[in-house]
């Protein structure tokens, strides 16, 4: 489903920052992968490369048999198949919850208003806030906003969902409601890549955990392997800090 090979990415701001160094990774259909690592380790950059929000300097990314780096690829088509949920929600502030979820269905998927309305309400039901359909994002709590953001991504019926630290900006009591929605998705067989520090969540639903540091993948393993017998020193040090 996702095939990343030899990807390199360097940022040149004030300093030269090697965000990704020769990263290779395969994710199968229906697999749930959690990416963790210290801040600045390149995990968010890797995720953003997967739907071309960042361009890569070298290497190859193939999403569902489509070459992302090929100049002929219609990137908007690929993005419509890859849902993304952001740390800061990024709901459209001028639209109601219902419009947030339906706008891309209407403008990109070209669904009729009534079809999109039906799907929107189903999804809001699924994430547990159908009663907020007419509210604006600023009237919702962080947890509710993030659930709307998930519904918005799901409305495109994507084949893959990317989560970029979806619970990091939330108050502790709201993390659970967002993780519950993600767990449901995982059980339904959605292919998911999550950058997350929620180790409880990772242990429960992840098929594999990827540990990254300094732009490199340090270790990949099942939750059991990684939590109980990590091979690398850096993994041990990181886990010791967060567990």
């Amino acid at each position: 489903m996702i095939n990343v090979s030899g990807v390199c990415k360097t940022f040149y701001s004030r300093h030269k920052v090697e965000a990704l160094v020769d990263v290779s990774l395969q994710v199968e259909k229906g697999e749930v992968v959690v990416i963790c690592g210290p801040s600045g380790s390149g995990k968010s950059t890797l995720l953003r490369c997967l739907n071309h929000l960042e361009t890569i300097d070298r290497g190859e990314i193939v999403i569902d048999t489509i070459q992302l780096t090929d100049a002929r690829t219609n990137i908007n088509k690929v993005r419509a198949e890859v849902g993304m949920v952001f740390q800061s929600f990024n709901l459209f502030a001028h639209l109601t919850v219902q419009e947030n979820v339906s706008i891309a269905q209407i403008k990109v998927r070209k669904r009729s208003r009534s079809d999109s309305h039906k799907i929107t309400m189903q999804l809001l039901e699924k994430v547990g806030i159908p009663e907020k359909a007419k509210s604006y994002p600023s009237q919702l709590s962080g947890g509710q906003q993030q659930r709307v953001a998930i519904a918005r991504a799901l409305a495109m019926q994507p084949k893959i969902m990317l989560f970029d630290e979806p619970t990091s900006a939330l108050d502790p009591e709201m993390i659970g409601e967002v993780l519950d929605v993600m767990k449901t998705l995982a059980r339904e067989g959605m292919t998911m890549c999550c950058v997350s520090h929620e180790m409880g969540f990772a242990r429960e639903v992840a098929d594999r955990i990827i540990f990254m540091d300094e732009g490199r993948i340090v270790e990949i393993g099942t939750p059991d392997q990684l939590f109980n017998e990590p091979k690398e020193e850096r993994t041990k040090a990181f886990l010791a800090q967060i567990l």
């Binding site: 908007n76 800061s88 990024n90 459209f92 502030a93 891309a104 990109v108 918005r152 991504a153 495109m156």
Partner: protein, 327 residues
């Protein structure tokens, strides 16, 4: 018991004092104006002003030769009168229907009246006001279009549109509007055979466009970049994301500075009087030169501008309240 110091710390007392001060200042200003004009020996003739807004026109249509009325035909609010003179030559007169005073078969002498009456006509100040309004509305619409295109070009990552936009903005902002109006009238107007109206409107549009472009650019840049990323991650292309996500939010934010720009434009339109467009200010000057009632005329002109700009402010405030729903 309250001492004077306590009284002065009382919020209500201080507010009352402030109102009294405002009142005294206003009275002083009015008194000052009256006294100074008395000193220059000026005769106020406010009664002269209304006729420059509306006046009653006397209409009197007379025949040039002895003739017989052969036909009277209504067409809308006008009536056409056909007469035949003693040489059997036909002549036609057009008169307002409600003032007609002859009928078919009447024999009329030279100089006799076919129609007479009075009707209201807009005065010079009113036609000037309408001209100012037309110029301003057209320039605002064109200015928004130019500003939007330039603003988006300014943000483009490719060098050609970006540097063209920067060049245009710097050129316009770095030269006086009056000079631009002359250039549009004498040079561009000559080359492209533009009327002075078109030249004036275009000069004002390109002038406002440069400032609006900067306002729009700032508005777009003020929208969090996560909004664009979210829109793109849903598969929207750049124009869609701009149209449905970024611009609506930016527009709400730039409404106050945009309104200021529109008000400036209405006032700047007073400069196109120099290219023979009789807008409000030019109308005022023309009335002034013939009546010497400069004081009354320009106070009236100022008041008319104020009506335009204040109405615009009210409209924008109404829009701002409406858009505040999602805050």
């Amino acid at each position: 018991m309250e001492t004077l110091k306590d009284l002065f710390h009382n919020e209500r007392f201080r507010r009352t004092l402030s109102w009294i001060a405002l009142f005294v200042i206003l009275i002083g200003l009015i008194a000052g104006t009256v006294i100074t004009t008395n000193n220059v020996d000026y005769i106020w003739r406010w009664e002269q002003i209304p006729r420059y807004i509306f006046f009653k026109e006397n209409i009197e249509v007379t025949v040039e030769e002895d003739a017989t009325v052969t036909a009277v035909e209504n067409e809308g609010t006008d009536t056409y009168i056909e007469v035949i003179n003693f040489l059997d030559e036909e002549q036609y007169y057009k008169v307002p229907s409600n003032m007609l005073s002859v009928k078919v078969g009447d024999e009329i002498e030279r100089g006799q009246v076919l129609a007479e009456g009075k009707r209201w006509r807009p005065g010079l100040l009113l036609t000037g006001l309408v001209m100012t309004l037309e110029i301003s509305v057209l320039s605002i619409i064109l200015g928004i279009l130019i500003g939007l295109i330039t603003g988006l070009a300014r943000l483009s990552s490719s060098p050609a549109p970006k540097w063209l936009a920067i060049g245009y903005i710097e050129l316009i902002r770095g030269t006086p509007l009056l000079v631009q109006i002359y250039i549009f009238y004498f040079f561009i107007g000559q080359v492209f055979r533009l009327s002075s109206f078109m030249a004036g409107v275009l000069a004002l549009s390109f002038f406002a466009g440069a400032y609006i472009a900067e306002i729009i650019r700032a508005g777009i840049q003020s929208i969090h970049k996560g909004q664009m990323e979210a829109a793109r991650s849903l598969g929207m292309n750049y124009p869609q994301a701009m149209q449905y996500i970024i611009l609506p939010q930016a527009f709400k934010r730039i409404l106050p500075p945009l309104a200021g720009q529109f008000i400036s434009l209405i006032k700047d339109s007073s400069l196109v009087g120099v290219i023979a467009l009789v807008e409000l200010t030019r109308a005022g000057r023309e009335i002034g030169t013939s009546t010497f009632n400069y004081f009354e005329v320009f106070f009236t002109v100022a008041a008319l501008y104020l009506i335009l700009t204040f109405s615009l402010s009210m409209i924008v405030q109404y829009l701002e309240r409406r858009f505040a729903a999602s805050d």
